[in-house]
């Protein structure tokens, strides 16, 4: 029971708010480090089991797939802690540890109940990082985020119940969409993974969190979802096409979006698309590709979010319309951001180059021409918005006149750590490949691959240059762009208001007799719910207990029928 890296963070977070500030920093650095060490000391296999309510729970299952993600989560937690060391807000500090701990617990879960518990806990703990901004806007975004996260948990719980009931067992291994409850579990994962239409919570909420919060958020929830997909649904054909859509549609939004942290959120869905394609192709190459790219993405995406978080901290905004020329006052952040940009764009010698190519290779080996071409399009597209747009509009372009100090030292250290990891993976891919679940028989540094990638990226850069020099590039404007969330944020509420107004109008046009008849019916129907009605009044405890006993008795009888 104690040999669980997740518990190191979860239990370690409990005394955190009581510690004095200096001890707290040391404690926060020690916990993810300790969890990482413990993860690597644990032997492979299911190392802890216990029975609860007749269910055999296996909270710790270590194998190479779980270890890749567990390692990435521990490192991401450490980066997040370093990045947030200047923050004195105990809510955020505790939330970071609980959130990271739940993600690690999810990655190590050997059974579906444990997975569900941690699945919910990631949602509940991470919303605090959005609310910690303490604005009306972030409060609302947090509520919407929470609805999506808890909704995903509910679907998963339903799916697990059906799965176990249908004889699928409680172990968290291959599930498959056609198994009982499989589709529900797949949709639950799809919400957290940002499947098209289910993705809206991501680009809605992430840019509303605090500077530190967004960095931490970017690392865990979606990657835990990728892990769950890789574990439960490898080789599911539909995922190939879902992934292609995810890789392609966000880049259009990213080009026209003004809030640069939202650009990165779209970019995140785009990168998740590559991983989902990898899982959909399946096989050793596909799963290796998804795991490797998830690992690399955690660090280069964190690095990009960190650089914009540093800008947000210093300038007070991350909107392209209000930024520009910051390389003069934040030169180190500029360089670090560009390392992140090179990594996500898959430049040779940077991490994306050696991880994304595993996925493209898996697709090419299956001779999926259309899928491959679309992913190549998405690769050029990601360079456009994350590789060029982010650094260009933040640090270069026209000088917006901000003269601010360089980012706080701890932020720069965290960025340097993420940059070092991104370069290390790119320069020595063998290190990354040796972590992967299957042996890797792929050499990323061939002349053809290096030349082709540089050609693709350089000419994409040339397209950007031609477009900006000729004035064809769409100017950055203050705006929001409609996405699928317009349905529940605008259309449905508007329809409800219209409906209400229509009913009121109808009510006014009715004759007095019909009106009083209607209100009589209404009173009759709602009487049990009113204050003194049988359902609405206060019930005695003993009365409630009688009802519960009655319900349980009926349940018991039914189970024998």
């Amino acid at each position: 029971m104690m040999g669980n890296p997740a518990l190191v963070l979860l239990l370690g977070a409990l005394p955190l708010p009581l510690l004095p500030a200096r001890v707290r920093s040391a404690w926060m650095l020690a916990l993810p480090t300790g969890a990482l060490a413990l993860l690597w000391l644990l032997p492979e296999g299911r190392t802890s089991q216990f029975t609860m309510l007749g269910l055999l729970l296996e909270p710790v299952r270590v194998d190479s797939l779980a270890r890749v993600f567990g390692t990435a989560f521990c490192l991401a937690a450490l980066l997040g802690v370093v990045y947030g060391l200047h923050v004195r807000d105990r809510v955020q500090q505790t939330a970071i540890l609980v959130y990271a701990g739940s993600a690690i617990g999810g990655a190590l879960a050997g059974d579906l109940v444990t997975l569900f518990v941690f699945w919910e806990l990631t949602g509940l703990s991470s919303v605090l990082l959005i609310w910690a901004r303490r604005t009306e806007r972030s409060y609302r975004a947090g509520i919407r985020y929470l609805v999506a996260q808890v909704g995903s948990g509910l679907l998963m719980l339903g799916g697990i119940a059906l799965h176990v009931d249908g004889g699928g067992g409680l172990r968290f291994d291959y599930i498959g969409a056609s198994a009982p409850g499989g589709l529900l579990i797949l949709i639950a994962i799809g919400i957290k993974c940002g499947f098209p239409v289910l993705h809206t919570w991501l680009q809605d909420a992430y840019p509303e969190a605090t500077a530190v919060g967004t960095v931490v958020l970017s690392g865990f929830t979606t990657k835990l979802a990728v892990y769950a997909l890789a574990r439960g649904f490898p080789g599911t054909e539909a995922l190939v096409w879902i992934g292609v859509v995810m890789a392609c549609f966000p880049i259009f939004y990213a080009v026209i979006e003004n809030d640069l942290r939202r650009v990165l959120s779209y970019s995140m869905i785009n990168q998740l698309g590559f991983m989902v394609v990898g899982v959909g192709i399946g096989g050793s190459l596909g799963i290796n590709g998804a795991a490797a790219h998830a690992f690399a993405d955690i660090f280069f995406k964190a690095l990009l979010f960190m650089s914009l978080g540093a800008v947000l901290t210093r300038v007070g905004t991350a909107k392209a319309t209000e930024l520009g020329g910051l390389y003069k006052s934040m030169p180190q952040t500029t360089v670090l951001c560009m390392i992140g940009a090179a990594s996500i764009s898959a430049f040779p010698l940077f991490s994306g180059f050696v991880t994304k190519s595993l996925i493209l290779e898996a697709v090419a080996e299956e001779h999926r021409t259309v899928v491959w071409l679309l992913l190549l399009f998405a690769s050029a597209g990601v360079f456009h918005h994350a590789g060029i747009k982010i650094p260009f509009f933040t640090f270069f372009a026209h000088d917006a006149g901000h003269r601010v100090p360089e980012a706080p030292l701890n932020m720069r250290i965290a960025m340097a750590m993420a940059a070092a990891l991104s370069i290390a993976i790119g320069v020595a891919p063998g290190l990354m490949y040796s972590l992967l679940p299957f042996p890797v028989d792929y050499a990323p540094y061939t002349a053809a691959h290096v030349v082709n990638q540089i050609q693709l990226l350089a000419l994409a850069a040339m397209a950007f240059t031609v477009l900006t020099r000729t004035g064809l590039y769409p100017p950055e404007v203050r705006s929001v762009n409609l996405d699928a969330d317009v349905v529940y944020r605008r259309v449905l509420p508007a329809a409800w208001m219209h409906g209400q107004r229509g009913m009121a109008g109808l009510h006014d046009r009715m004759g007095p007799a019909a009106r009083s008849g209607l209100s009589g019916v209404g009173r009759l129907l709602t009487r049990p719910l009113r204050m003194n009605g049988p359902l609405g009044s206060a019930w005695s405890t003993s009365g409630m207990v009688r009802w519960v006993i009655l319900l349980l008795g009926i349940l018991l009888l039914l189970s024998y029928v």
């Binding site: 880049i251 040339m462 929001v480």
Partner: protein
């Protein structure tokens, strides 16, 4: 913090950078003749497939996105107004 002008504030220098980029791109196109291709797809053998693909899709991406903006763009407080109205009303 003094308000300093740097090299990149000179249009002349920016032009130089842009020209250098164009030159590199031209050279990269010619590089296609120099290495052995090991393609999965026949079209990878076409001369200049990757650079031309990179340029064309990036160019089209921006132009299509620009058109999409006409359809998708709303004021910055588009959602806030509705939410505020719902709260007050």
């Amino acid at each position: 913090m003094k308000d300093d002008r740097r090299g990149l504030d000179e249009p002349r220098n920016v032009r130089l950078v842009v020209r250098a980029l164009y030159l590199v791109c031209g050279l990269l196109l010619l590089t296609d003749l120099l290495y052995a291709k090991s393609p999965h797809f026949t079209f990878e053998n076409w001369f200049g497939f990757y650079p031309v693909f990179g340029f064309v899709v990036s160019f089209s991406l921006v132009l299509v996105a620009k058109q999409l903006r006409h359809l998708l763009r709303r004021d910055e407080d588009y959602y806030e107004r509705r939410e505020q109205a719902a709260d007050d009303g």
